[in-house]
Amino acid sequence: MSSIKIRASAKDGVTTVKCLISHPMETGTRKNSKTGQMIPAHFIQEVVCTHNGKTVLTGNWGTAISKNPYLSFKFKGGAVGDKIGISWVDNKGEKDADETKVS
């Protein structure tokens, strides 16, 4: 299952995109309470949002983005049926991508 949930809707020539990503977003400063070991940093560094293949928004994130990140943004244009793509890469090189259609 994809780690990304996307909703996109167009209204009056503006498309609103909302997405939720499942990711632990570990800062690397927390300790495991049982073992006392530091939990290594594991967080999304880059999020790319595209509209019909063209990049609309690039997000560069630090560790201060909450666990299971939420992101919403708007762009001009976009019509029902257009493709909205979201992809992310984290500091361990893991990545995921998903796309949806504007409704």
């Binding site: 690397g28 560094q45 063209k54 609309v56 997000g59 560790t63 909450s66 992101l71 943004f73 762009f75």
Partner: protein, 157 residues
Amino acid sequence: MTSMKRRIFLKGTLATGALGIAAGSGLLAPRAVLAAWAKEAFEAKDLNSALNSLLGSSTLSASDKIKIKAPDIAENGAVVPVSISTDLPGVESINIVVEKNPTPLAANFVLGPGALAEVSTRIKMGKSSSVLAVIKAGGKLYSTGKEVKVTIGGCGG
């Protein structure tokens, strides 16, 4: 109003400097860092060096054309919703900075063609701090801040 906020901001900057040294050791150690990702800026312990490294300047002009929406009191610092929007023309990037976080820079959004200057996300806050929206528009930096009180920190364990 705006000059008042700026004063708070300057004060906060000094405080962050001292905090940075205290929290210096063993913070971030990402192994595989991407070339595009501004490692230095995101790992910077104070606001000025984060902004200098990311945007090439730390000179902020207060602007009332930026709207930042965040709660006055956040019960849980691990999840603080923040929305930023602006009417400024020619916006290149929107940045979220939490002054008193161990690494103040939280996020940088680069707007592509057609993108409206309006972004919402959720951030972590270690303790009560001012959250700054820093907008790069026409090569200059503009900012507006909002004080958020945190009752439970989001960075500890």
